[in-house]
């Protein structure tokens, strides 16, 4: 049983909040909920949301988590925080007092990050819980509607889930409306006046095609289908909207995993060090802390990498080497740099800006690639290789692990065929997954879909129509 009472937690929390304020962290109001492991598994399966629409995939997720937990393969996270205002965090009842203290401090780190990092501006934290609840209610209503029902709702949700991450990544940049796009294209087609008009005849300017849909390649697959498939019913469009909006809510978390976990770890360490814990708690804290932030060979542990980078940033601010000083704006302390960075970066820019050769060598970062049946180290972080390693790391962080798929044409060949393009960056698509996912696009679009990609350095067009899947390599 637990070795503490709720009053203990509140007392520690008060002390932690003093430190939070002293360090200058800026948090949403915080709510903690104490739960047991079954509830925790439930929250994990539904991304922490107190209410969420039903779908079998969450049941699958739950069973997987439960199996792993029951067999002791993986433990449960010490905590879970959701980005909302007030922020909501769950504490596991069975954890020791020390773990609870660590967790509470860690939660305030996340809370501060959610409130201040620019990527989260688009998530409207005040409405998080209400929005998810409203989504759940709507989906349940469709399920209960005669004539729609579970199977039809599932058919749409299955397809929508497969495509939910095929959307714009940088939500801080506003998407131009089609009207604005048209204006821009027309303006771009206006050439500057020709001073030599009298001397030579100007070549006829090509007429810009402003009728095609989309005007510029569109990454928001679900929204595009919603807005351009006239045969979708209202509830189907609504389901696509719901799935899209939920994906948008989670994208900032995907995009800042390393920063966010590193930030929370950095501050829980600072806070607990300043609390002057009694000795037995202090020892346990050190053990737990090191479990969380230990490097894991063969993987990237976001807690570890993030923490190292934040510590590096603070050191650069407080004690820069001469060359670092040159590049640094004058008069910035380590603390200034920390808070500035947590506001303006995402994982990709964070790593690009702050991860240098020396730190990479200390961390022993490597680039691996498949050769035959093995994964082989192709580069290590030495003088020649570190750039390559960094590129490989950058390619995989955040939404970098999701291929970019764009809609090129909604009426390809005049037959309402949907033409998609995979923006190939050297990484091929996984063919079986591409086939199935294209099947889902086809289900939503209702007509043949085609995807242009590159497989084994050959241009290939994958199609999915009435007769199923086909792959055709360009000759």
């Amino acid at each position: 049983m637990a070795d503490y009472a709720l009053a203990d937690l509140e007392a520690w929390d008060a002390r932690i909040r003093e430190q939070v304020a002293a360090f200058g962290l800026d948090c949403y109001p915080q709510e903690f909920e104490v739960c047991d492991h079954v509830q925790m598994l439930g929250y994990m399966a539904y991304s922490g949301m107190p209410s969420h629409y039903p779908h079998w995939s969450y049941g699958k997720g739950y069973e997987k988590l439960k199996t792993l937990y029951d067999h002791g393969v993986s433990g449960l996270p010490y905590e879970m925080v959701i980005n909302s205002n007030p922020a909501l965090a769950y504490l596991m009842r069975d954890n020791t007092l020390c773990l609870q203290i660590l967790t509470i401090a860690h939660v305030y780190g996340h809370n501060d990050f959610f409130k201040n990092n620019f990527t989260f501006r688009s998530t409207r934290a005040e409405f998080t819980i209400g929005t998810f609840k409203a989504h759940a209610d709507r989906v349940r209503r469709y399920i209960d509607t005669p004539g729609i029902g579970h199977d039809k709702v599932e058919g749409i949700l299955d397809a929508a889930h497969a495509l939910s991450l095929q959307c714009r990544r940088n939500l801080a940049v506003r998407k131009p409306t089609p009207e604005e796009e048209r204006q821009r294209i027309l303006e771009a087609s206006q050439r500057p006046p020709d001073p030599f008009q009298a001397i030579h005849k100007r070549e006829a300017a090509p007429e810009p095609d402003v009728r095609r849909t989309p005007l510029v390649p569109d990454e928001d697959l679900l929204l595009f289908v919603r807005d351009h498939n006239p045969f979708l019913a209202g509830w189907q469009k609504d389901l696509l909207t719901i799935v899209h909006e939920e994906a948008q809510y989670f994208i900032p978390q995907i995009e800042t995993k390393i920063m966010n976990e590193g930030w929370a770890s950095f501050w829980h360490k600072r806070i607990l060090d300043s609390l002057e814990l009694p000795q037995e708690l202090q020892l346990e804290f050190i053990v737990r802390h090191n479990q969380v932030i230990r490097p894991i060979p063969g993987q990237i542990n976001p807690y570890h990498l993030g923490l190292k980078l934040w510590e590096h940033i603070e050191r650069v601010g407080d004690d820069p080497t001469p060359e670092e000083r040159e590049r640094l704006p004058a008069g910035r302390t380590g603390r200034d740099l920390l808070f500035e960075t947590r506001e303006v970066d995402r994982d990709a820019s964070f790593i690009r800006r702050w991860l240098g050769e020396r730190l990479m060598r200390d961390l022993d970062l490597i680039r691996y690639e498949p050769r035959g049946n093995d994964l082989v180290i192709s580069e290590v972080s030495d003088e020649q290789g570190w750039g390559e390693v960094k590129q490989a790391l950058l390619a995989g962080v955040g939404m970098g692990s999701v291929p970019v798929i764009r809609v090129l044409d909604a009426d390809f060949g005049g037959s309402r065929m949907l033409l998609l393009e995979h923006v190939h960056d050297g990484r091929d698509l996984h063919l079986e997954n591409a086939e199935r996912t294209l099947g889902y696009v086809h289900r939503l679009w209702g007509r043949e879909v085609a995807l242009e990609t590159v497989l084994g350095s050959k241009k290939t067009t994958l199609t999915f129509g009435e007769r199923g899947f086909a792959a055709k390599a360009a000759t």
């Binding site: 739960c35 990237i300 022993d364 082989v376 290590v380 995989g396 698509l429 996912t437």
Partner: protein, 397 residues
């Protein structure tokens, strides 16, 4: 900064919080669907034959995976080394399947399949869901009341103390109290207590439920002559296994008997049946005669539903064929279903003699022959065997 709110753990919330139950059962039914689609492959897996019913088995299934656009096999990645990384070191196995967004030097085997756990019991249930027993004429005499369960059925004013329903009794008393109030006031009776009366007592009423029992026996006959090798025996065993499990789902009381034969037949235990090799030639008739004896002695057809199945490689002595045919006819009369499975692993079919031709002359509606060449045939043959419906195929000749 405002105070943080702590919500304490609430056990009753926790009990109500099985929020994923609906989604889990939805997922579960998808798994079942997928299992049903792949049932033939699963049967062909040796591991399930002859296992305990409660055992949990891993069943590879397709189709419950969630697909997205992901990067494929040629994707390089970045990871943290062990501190002494060198170019060219092997850090793991390439995966057929790249995980979603995880920079993981793959240490998992190529997981094209998603594996799920089901109990054998459940698997059997799924398998037989859409199979019906063709000839389910239950033998009237043997529908014995086999077990009783007490079931609640309403309330009575009389009963034994232990079945007293306190809540209802208290309610009766309250009712009586309200009903008699005016009367008592009129009479001016002022009593501080209002005790229970015998009329207030309410008892739960129980009835016993009886269920009819139905009996079935599965007679497994197998050729154990020298020509039956391990592979053939395995195929036979798989078939018997399915038959037994299936009969078990349809009858309450199922017995099984094993008859092994070469030139002569004898009744053996399961262990001996499958594991003991014999040698020598084959008189199929000997097994049938033995089966007839067993039926007469212990499983009289008026009391028992008899299912007989015989597995052999068809290598019978020619001189025995007429006798075998005669005995088979008799068996057909006694059994609900009588089957002959000829096991001929691929290739051996052309140079060995076959009983299939001989049995073609047997025109009983409840007789069925199947040919099993490979593991994959077992499920098909089994379905074909049960498809033989005595009711549906009345006289064709």
């Amino acid at each position: 900064m405002a105070d943080s709110i702590f919500r304490p753990f609430n056990p009753s919330d926790a009990e109500r919080s099985d929020r994923s139950a609906g989604d889990r059962s939805r997922h579960r039914s998808k798994v079942r669907e997928s299992i049903r689609e792949n049932i033939a492959d699963i049967i062909a897996e040796e591991s399930i034959i002859g296992q305990n019913r409660d055992r949990i088995i891993k069943v590879p299934i397709r189709g419950i995976r969630e697909y997205r656009f992901v990067y494929g096999d040629n994707t390089p990645g970045a990871a943290q080394g062990n501190g002494q990384s060198q170019q060219g070191q092997v850090v793991g196995k390439a995966r057929g399947q790249q995980g979603q967004g995880e920079d993981k030097a793959g240490d998992q085997a190529g997981a094209d399949y998603y594996e799920t756990d089901v109990t054998l019991e459940e698997l059997i249930e799924i398998m037989f869901e859409d199979l019906e027993l063709p000839d389910l004429e239950r033998k009237a005499l043997r529908q014995v009341e086999s077990f009783r369960i007490a079931r609640r059925k309403g309330y009575r004013a009389v009963g034994i103390r232990i079945r007293l329903d306190k809540k209802r009794t208290a309610r009766e008393r309250a009712r009586r109290m309200v009903a008699t109030r005016k009367h008592r006031e009129a009479l001016g009776i002022e009593r501080p207590r209002f005790p229970f009366h015998e009329d207030d007592l309410v008892y739960r009423h129980m009835v016993t439920d009886t269920r009819d029992e139905s009996n079935a026996v599965v007679l497994c006959l197998m050729d154990t002559s020298g020509s039956m090798d391990t592979m053939k025996k395995y195929l036979a065993r798989s078939f018997f296994f399915l038959l037994f499990q299936f009969i078990c789902t349809k009858y309450q009381n199922v017995e099984i008997a094993f008859v092994a034969h070469h030139t002569e037949a004898k009744e053996v235990t399961e262990e001996e049946f499958f594991h003991k090799g014999e040698s020598g030639g084959t008189f199929i008739s000997s097994a049938y005669v033995k089966a007839l004896e067993i039926i007469q002695a212990r499983y009289h057809p008026s009391l028992w539903n008899v299912y007989t199945f015989h597995c052999s490689d068809g290598d019978n002595f020619d001189s025995d064929n007429p006798a075998a045919l005669r005995a088979a006819r008799e068996l057909c009369d006694l059994c609900n279903l009588f089957g002959y499975g000829e096991i001929k692993p691929l290739g051996s079919r052309y140079y060995e003699s076959s009983m299939l031709q001989i049995f073609r002359r047997l025109e009983a509606d409840n007789f069925q022959t199947v040919l099993i060449e490979r593991k994959e045939d077992i499920w098909q043959s089994f379905k074909a065997f049960l498809g033989k419906d005595r009711g549906a195929r009345q006289p064709q000749a």
